[in-house]
Symmetry: C2
Subunit: 234 residues, 2 copies
Amino acid sequence: MPDRPSTPATRPPPRRASLSVDVVLLTPLGRRLTTLLVRTGDPRAKERWELPWDTMRAEETLEDTAARLARATLGAGPALIGQIGAFGNRRRHPSGAAVSVAFLGLVPAGAPAPVGGDTAWFPADEPPGLAPRVRAMLDGALAAVRTRLDREPIAFRLLPATFTLSQLQEIYEILLGRRLHKASFRRALHAAWLVEPTDEWRSEGRGRPAQLFRYAPRKRRGGRRGVRFDVLGG
Amino acid sequence: MPDRPSTPATRPPPRRASLSVDVVLLTPLGRRLTTLLVRTGDPRAKERWELPWDTMRAEETLEDTAARLARATLGAGPALIGQIGAFGNRRRHPSGAAVSVAFLGLVPAGAPAPVGGDTAWFPADEPPGLAPRVRAMLDGALAAVRTRLDREPIAFRLLPATFTLSQLQEIYEILLGRRLHKASFRRALHAAWLVEPTDEWRSEGRGRPAQLFRYAPRKRRGGRRGVRFDVLGG
DNA sequence: TCAATAGTGTCTGTTAGACATTATGGA
DNA sequence: TCCATAATGTCTAACAGACACTATTGA
């Protein structure tokens, strides 16, 4: 599928725009979440990075623009999870846009690294120099991932098609930022009918090989329980 | 504080704009959530309604614009809860804007009704004729309220400063769309240390008078429990 | 007095968290 | 063999949901 000649990685110096669309692409690497950043085209700023962004084209929706951006950046389109929000504070954006709309995309671990000279994955919680609004969009994406984690099956979008339960638990631990109890994790997973075992096993290093599972949601769990005033005091 | 002469209720016919800011104001009325709508200025459309909206002014942030809109619409500023998101699909908006950013504001029950001839509260789940994008923003606001209900103390923003526990439970039931168990609700509320009793009592109709409480969060609940894969299969 | 609503005590099934144990491979 | 990891069984404290009961007012 032919795309425009100028990819985000080699975009020309900043132009004026009233509204930009930015995508935050996340993938796990080791025990960290990493995000894809592009070196700023502006030669005046040294070692300045930004999110892949573009402006809307005629007849395009916001989602169209974000999907096109993700495709142009990573080749095959990653799973676009949704919109983070609009960022229109006084913090600057490389495009000069008054307002930027950020989207979140999740890339499975082990996907082909698209790293050219101007594109690289950085730890999402310790990004390099970013314009203030870009930093706000990245932080918003991380918050959105954690918020939606217990409501949508987004952890599975960060894993390959088959995975071990330890891998799945590690993803949850990365996203939640805390360790989970193995037995409880597997018990809750079993009760939710979200995965099914394959007949493959994988041996990594020393210990006993782990069975591979695939994401296969069967049904939603029975009745809701009552109101939990969990973090409500925040 | 002087405001612009043309309030949203009497705004001139639609002008072209590239980006609009809309506010969804919600308040409980009876056992329903209601939203504030403004009659469309466009004389061609008969009985067409829209959300209060405006465009950003120079040096204004998105939040500034939303707060100004809420103030101009309701007098004293209601509690603006946050942004719903950007809506830039092909669905039309009264402003003709390519993209609209929606904000959510919660108005305590019993607040002065600002109803002029061109402004009225409508049941949020059965609005009158709305442009498609406006309908999408309203639906997004309702979804956001339910999503954030167990994470943020938004139920209290729909109540006056003092309230009975039955009122509070009714708000939760309206927002969740289901009935709650009285004893469990109060037990969870007590454990969360979110309200404190006043020494006032209120008698409404027949039964025993109810004690009035006020919102007074003390601390957050102790340890989190593990992962709950609640609605995760969705 | 009855009806209606507020508020509380207690029982039970479920579950999160902890601990222990077995299983299975590599060094 | 020892060690590391996978996977599972069991116990306990906490909690949601249900029921029953008392308390207090107006009709």
